[in-house]
């Protein structure tokens, strides 16, 4: 199997765009009662499998696309996602087996950490602090439940696509 140079980044980016659309559609249907907050699906895949600068680019552009049309400080979400991506890259070798449990655990940790960051940094859009905590808690619970079933598939889907295209990706050193 050959290893292409740039096609993995393109595939990961395209999958991220698809996830953006899917999440937007699901959240449109769920609103106003609940929302799925799943930044980890955009971050973990590129961070594990791509080279450093490619991962930064894919995660950064995905973040900028996600936060477009949101009322938060421009590039704040991008900074948070990049920080999370760097952290995932730093520990990527522990997840070489790519078994379901470890990938799901990683997804949950990254997701919860980012939700906490959003909770701390984004402006409160609820009636009062109690409602804010309740809403964030409920949305995180729902997101965590969805991740249990969907995390492995969502994160490893680009690998399957690339394998189908004849590109084998592994968690490797940078070169």
């Amino acid at each position: 199997m050959r290893r292409a140079r740039y096609s993995p980044a393109i595939v990961f980016f395209s999958v991220n765009v698809a996830y953006l659309h899917i999440l937007a559609t699901v959240n449109s249907a769920l609103s106003p009662y609940a929302a799925l907050i799943l930044p980890c699906v955009f971050i973990i895949g590129p961070s594990l499998f791509l080279r450093g600068w490619q991962a930064a680019l894919v995660v950064g552009v995905s973040a900028l696309l996600w936060e477009a049309s949101t009322p938060v400080r421009p590039a704040l979400a991008c900074a948070l996602w990049l920080a999370a991506a760097f952290c995932v890259r730093a520990v990527r070798f522990r997840f070489r087996p790519l078994d379901g449990f470890s990938v799901c655990a990683l997804a949950q940790v990254v997701n919860i950490a980012l939700i906490f960051a959003y909770f701390a940094l984004f402006p409160n859009g609820c009636a009062d602090f109690g409602d804010y905590v309740l809403r964030v808690f409920a949305d995180s619970l729902l997101s965590a439940a969805v991740l249990i079933f969907a995390a492995r598939f969502a994160i490893l889907a680009p690998l399957s696509i690339l394998k189908f295209a004849g590109v084998e990706l592994k968690i490797e050193e940078d070169f």
Binding site: T25, G52, P71, P74, N124
Partner: protein, 278 residues
């Protein structure tokens, strides 16, 4: 393994640089990039929305002729009723203009209705917004009012070329001047923000102490034309109870918004005619 250290450092530098750029780039650059990505993302919202419309069209294709004929007949009946209403409105409008001329009263702000399909809804703990499939090329500007058949939807927060973002009436960032139906005194409406597993609500403040709505006879909160953004009299929601503040002068209460806000497929943006003609 020097190259390991080198690549690790390089990766760290790339990420650190990117994070620092995101955090400390001048706000003008950040805003420019953000609005650029907004336009880049816009087709990602409107194309799926168009595809959804197309899908709905083809799904309707599978309906039996009989269903289609009946639906068509109902629609025709509805259209006829609306056409009559339009005629009535037109004659009322002419009469009002005549009276304004005679009595030398300045006219209210006129609006043009720009109908737009909803591309997506984005409601969570931090914001309450929706994206519609029309933008500045259709005359839509930031601050324009957005309404639907059941009342106020929100206000345009930002207008891209072909899509616009609507700050919903339930958003905590939404505030407007309002009044109660049948009363001229101004009150202030605030969106209450998101509450989990609960329909959207708002709050009304500075209500005169003599207002007394009840559960059976709620008071209807409508728009006030004082600010010039909304025309007068469009429903915002219903108020079933008010509580007197400790100062004993004003009351405040919760506004129940229309449940149809949760499932809107189409809205109308009110573009001021004077701006439009510029």
């Amino acid at each position: 393994m020097e190259w390991r250290k080198y690549t690790a450092l390089r990766t760290a530098a790339i990420f650190a640089g990117a994070v620092l750029l995101c955090l400390f780039a001048p706000s003008a650059i950040r805003s420019f990039v953000s609005s650029g990505f907004d336009e880049f993302r816009a087709p990602m919202d409107s194309i799926p929305s168009h595809l959804a419309d197309l899908q709905k069209y083809w799904s309707l294709h599978s309906n039996s002729k009989r269903d289609l004929i009946e639906a068509g007949r109902d629609l025709a009946r509805l259209n006829a009723a609306y056409e009559l209403k339009l005629l009535e409105n037109e004659s009322l409008r002419r009469r009002l203009e005549g009276l304004e001329r005679i009595m030398n009263i300045p006219s209210d702000q006129k609006f043009r209705y720009e109908v737009a399909r909803v591309a997506r809804r984005d409601v969570n703990a931090w914001w309450q917004r929706m994206v519609i499939r029309k933008g500045s090329v259709h005359g839509i500007r930031e601050g324009c009012a957005v309404v639907c058949a059941s009342g106020v939807v929100g206000r345009i927060a930002s207008a891209g070329t072909r899509t616009s973002v609507v700050e919903l009436v339930s958003s905590r960032r939404f505030r407007m001047a309002a009044r109660f139906a049948g009363d001229d005194r101004p009150v202030i409406y605030y969106g209450r923000g998101g509450v989990s597993m609960h329909a959207a609500e708002g709050e009304v403040f500075d209500v005169p102490a003599d207002m007394e709505p009840t559960l059976k006879k709620p008071a209807t909160l409508v728009t006030s034309s004082l600010a010039g953004t909304f025309p007068d009299g469009i429903e915002i929601g219903k108020v079933r109870s008010l509580s007197l503040g400790a100062d004993g002068i004003f009351k405040s209460g919760t506004v129940e918004l229309s449940p149809r806000l949760d499932s809107l497929a189409e809205v109308a943006v009110l573009v001021p005619v004077s701006e439009d003609s510029k």
